[in-house]
Assembly symmetry: C2
Homo-oligomer: 423 residues x 2
């Protein structure tokens, strides 16, 4: 392991006795051999003098195996019982890891959601955490225990078992880290950090050493699967530093932290492409007050998430309204739009599934004018036509033909020189 | 289904609204298809107007699969964690059965050990139940729910998960039945009742329609696997009628009840043979006070259960001491006995693994003289030599050569005419 580049991270790792929350995902505990490796890693942290709380996911494949049994019994299985069923997966991995830690001489104890007093909303399948008994966990850690907490689960106010939704173990880990006031929350996974873009698309992709919560949120929203969005929101809220790193190497990964802790505010931190996008256009919509709401209200009721929205300038009292949805929602969204065309006397609905959204993300965009223009120029110079644009404070997205998506990622990555170690 | 032979059972089944606890073992919930069948059975009881609490074991094979993972990590895995690991098995089957009951329109809710407030001793792997929140369960049932309780598990006073030992789901069911003051506890299993002896050994074996707790205890101790001993003790203590029956038929099985509820006190209720017995003899033990204790104390410390003990009349200040242990304890018991031979100056240790214990059990033996003599005569007439004898109030056991065990069972079953429907 080379010298630690970042002074703050180095400081945390050099502390004589830090309180560290380590989260291990499903592939990291996917077999008994993997569990042995994870236990070695936890034991090492413990022997280095740190206090450790581990949060585990279910063994890879186990959650799907359990869910499929429930779905085989019913197309709409009782949600309360599905949570009881699926939460057994984390129970098994937590127990196994605790067993192996004890083999290594580490005084480890598993804790299920109800034992860690992880209280959630009274909702099944995707509950949000309300409170955690941070003091209880802390006092158990202070008395010398390494805790292995089953991720993804909690209990509601009635004592029912609830789960936090897919990827919920990230959220468990960050919420626990916040509750015990940990020094750092390590997200140990099967990749070694967050990359400037997908390395399988762009060979120049570079591991980011440090990124802001805001940027990470945008990248997670754009489909970077390395962290669940909700866990990033929670970390941002509690200003809990995250360290995304490999479960199986000691190399430093990516630190997700406050903007002011970034050594240098890069203009563009990452590039992302979302190819699972469909474009729908309602043509010649009568342009009067409330008509746009009449399009989006039924979509919202159907729980369809609309991404980009483009309304063209009105012409002769009519306007074309274009919006994008995910591929999986496209059929339902099209049907809703078609129903609407009749009721508001629009001309018709167009649909294109062969589009992609490419985005650049970076907090430096706030203070640097002309970044969006540079993006448009890079695409134009390479004959990639932009169909729609949307922007946020730290993100610019362009809708293009899906066939150009990979090329656009490489062009933007190279054009903004993301391969250079700027941060 | 024919007319119900026994007036008391008929009374329970005819009650307009009985509170019934039904326990289903691992093979009864061993697949999704089996779970569908069990759900139909529960739904039928519910639709007949009864209140139902179901107690389930883990799906067949699941407990062993979980245990083997723990043992693969360690020869002595942390007991606390093994209980966390293995208790997930009942969690899965309880959730699946609750899902399927909801599919059938039955308002079912699963409850884990901690949710049913099954409090146990602070011991792992084989904890005894201390208290159950009978009122809470009862009020949930009274408000219309069918409860599906995960068997085999509870929590100790610190909130740790504990398990009740092999077959513990029987004990869970009886304890819950006692706590809610159920009318009957049905043990639904893969056999259709308790038999006068093992039907695979004796073709004339007959299903017993009614048996006393005491007789059932003796038969369970002698290896009849249909009911866990502890569950019978608990049922006897609370005078809770048990109904051992098939999970997959509506035929009446065997009622285990108070002696005074037996229609007719048969002299011999059942015959059992235990072939996993080893005989050890310490030869020419000096016959002075305390010497026998010096043999059995180290065996007790090693947690070896000694069954029959025979001390021959002393001769020239020495005596031969013979005792039996199970095959699995024989090596350790022999080693302990050999250590002792040196320290107390005995002559040596003999061992014979080819012995079996055949027993007759029946409450009628209390009041009928000559039953033991008749047993000895039946064996002698068939040239079966008796090596040792032990008796209790309602049981007589003889140690014979293992090769004669099956023949002895048939001889005793026929000799006492157990094939006749006396009870």
């Amino acid at each position: 392991m080379g010298p630690v580049a970042d002074p703050d991270v180095a400081a945390i790792l050099r502390r004589p006795m830090a309180l560290v929350v380590q989260k291990y995902g499903g592939t990291s505990v996917g077999s008994l051999d993997r569990i042995r490796m994870v236990a070695e890693r936890v034991a090492e942290t413990y022997r280095d003098g740190h206090q450790v709380i581990v949060v585990v996911s279910a063994m890879a494949g186990e959650t799907d195996r359990l869910l499929s049994m429930g779905w085989e019994l019913s197309e709409q299985p009782a949600e309360r019982e599905m949570d009881v069923l699926v939460s057994s997966g984390e129970q098994v991995s937590a127990a196994l890891l605790a067993i192996q830690l004890n083999v290594l001489g580490v005084p480890a104890r598993s804790l299920l959601g109800h034992q860690a007093r992880i209280r959630t909303e009274n909702v099944f399948r995707k509950a949000r955490i309300r409170t955690i008994d941070g003091e209880g966990l802390r006092s158990s850690v202070d008395s010398g225990n390494v805790l292995v907490v089953a991720g993804f689960q909690g209990t509601d106010t009635y004592g029912n078992i609830t789960t936090l939704g897919r990827g919920g173990s990230d959220t468990s880990a960050v919420a626990i880290a916040a509750a015990v006031k940990a020094d750092v929350c390590e997200i140990c996974t099967d990749v070694d950090g967050v990359y400037t873009t997908d390395p399988s698309v762009c060979p120049n992709a570079r591991k980011i050493s440090r990124i802001s919560y805001e940027e990470m949120l945008e990248l997670s929203s754009l489909g970077a699967k390395v962290l669940q969005i909700r866990s990033v929101e929670l970390a941002m809220k509690h200003r809990m530093p995250l360290h995304v790193r490999s479960s199986f190497s000691n190399a430093e990964g990516t630190i997700v932290t406050d903007e002011e802790h970034l050594l240098e505010k890069v203009i563009v931190a990452g590039v992302a492409a979302d190819k699972k996008t469909a474009k729908l256009t309602v043509r010649a919509l009568p342009d009067h007050p409330g008509v746009v709401a009449s399009v989006f209200e039924p979509l919202a009721e159907a729980n369809i998430s609309v991404d980009m929205i483009i309304q063209n300038v009105s012409r002769e009292g009519h306007t074309d309204l274009t919006f994008t949805v995910s591929h999986e929602d496209a059929d339902r969204a099209e049907a809703i739009a078609k129903d609407l065309v009749a009721s508001v006397s629009a001309e018709g609905v167009g649909r294109d599934d062969s589009v992609a959204k490419v985005s650049i993300v970076g907090v430096g965009m706030r203070n640097h004018a002309g970044i969006a223009a540079r993006m448009f120029r890079l695409l134009a110079d390479n004959s990639i036509n932009i169909q729609a644009i949307s922007t946020s404070e730290i993100k610019t997205s362009c809708l293009i033909k899906a066939e150009h998506a990979d090329k656009a990622v490489v062009i933007l990555h190279d054009g903004f020189e993301l391969e250079k170690n700027a941060n």
